[in-house]
Symmetry: C2
């Protein structure tokens, strides 16, 4: 996989509503968990929203650093997506190792990026909305890279076998890989 930086259009990657991995870390330790509830909230400069439980082991790193990364998996990574949602980092398990995920260094934040994700969005939290046991985080996207095989002319391309993974519930997901063009 060969990833390229993009300087606009990060929202395009999240538009279709894929499930994502969120990573965070402080340079000493780190963690990863799976997030179904994510979306863009501004095009340019890009902003995103994610909803996450304040109980997540990894959430402490987001609180401490104000940073996280969104890592977008292809459908073939479904078991690692489910696993990072099912297993808690509090168990002491290294979920990266357990689920075959490789840490890459981010450009602008301390969180690790997941090499096996086809896109990585580095984010800095700008607002935290307390939802009780969970928090809605609004964040600026400060750096974005995407597999050049799957992002062509500013759009996601399915020509090279990209399959997006969407969470249904529990261990069930659905996949999208076919483009439909609307007409008005």
């Amino acid at each position: 996989m060969s990833k390229m930086k993009i300087y606009s259009g990060a929202y395009v990657i999240l538009n279709p509503g894929s499930v994502v991995w969120v990573t965070a870390g402080d340079g000493m330790s780190d963690g990863v968990f799976t997030v179904t509830w994510n979306m863009p909230v501004r095009k340019e400069p890009a902003m995103v929203a994610i909803e996450c439980s304040q109980n997540h082991h990894t959430y402490q790193f987001i609180r401490k650093t104000g940073e996280f990364a969104i890592n977008v998996p292809e459908a073939k990574m479904v078991n690692a997506v489910l696993g990072c949602g099912r297993v808690s980092g509090k168990t002491g398990v290294d979920k990266f190792e357990k689920f075959g995920l490789t840490r890459d260094k981010a450009e602008k934040i301390k969180a690790p990026l997941i090499r096996e994700a086809f896109a990585n969005l580095e984010c800095r939290v700008s607002q935290v909305i307390d939802m009780g046991s969970s928090a809605l985080l609004l964040a600026q996207v400060v750096s974005t890279q995407v597999d050049e095989a799957h992002f062509v002319d500013g759009k996601l391309s399915f020509d090279n076998g990209l399959e997006l993974l969407h969470h249904l519930t529990g261990d069930q997901f659905c996949i999208s890989s076919k483009v439909l063009v609307g007409k008005v």
Copy 2:
């Protein structure tokens, strides 16, 4: 299509990240527009977030009533989904009529529901986060109905031909209709 009320699990309908129609009205007049950026933010009692431009003709009804409905289309409605995003209600056009959408009466809110959507979520705004030209609306889901052919045992079912529609960018969408089960 035969819709049934459901009293829990509304978030399951939005989990996979479909594009939706948002409707609003004051009992005298109404409108509809297409929203790519939507997600659940709480399971029970269900809450959702949608991002919408404050310029939308229909947004005035949301401000006035504090209410809107989320209407989830199947992929076969792609042209009406694109159309309701492309055409402004400010033109005076009745987008329901223009794009073949039928108004149904909601149970608890003044907004019309779209009969052709396979699911309708009636929502009351609880918080507005000003994002400049757009607003992030957090809302309680106060009533939910879903096509009983496509929602079985608390889950979306693809056994009867359901195809979900996800927005990519511009006039391009992708569709999901195939379930993938993860294993840990």
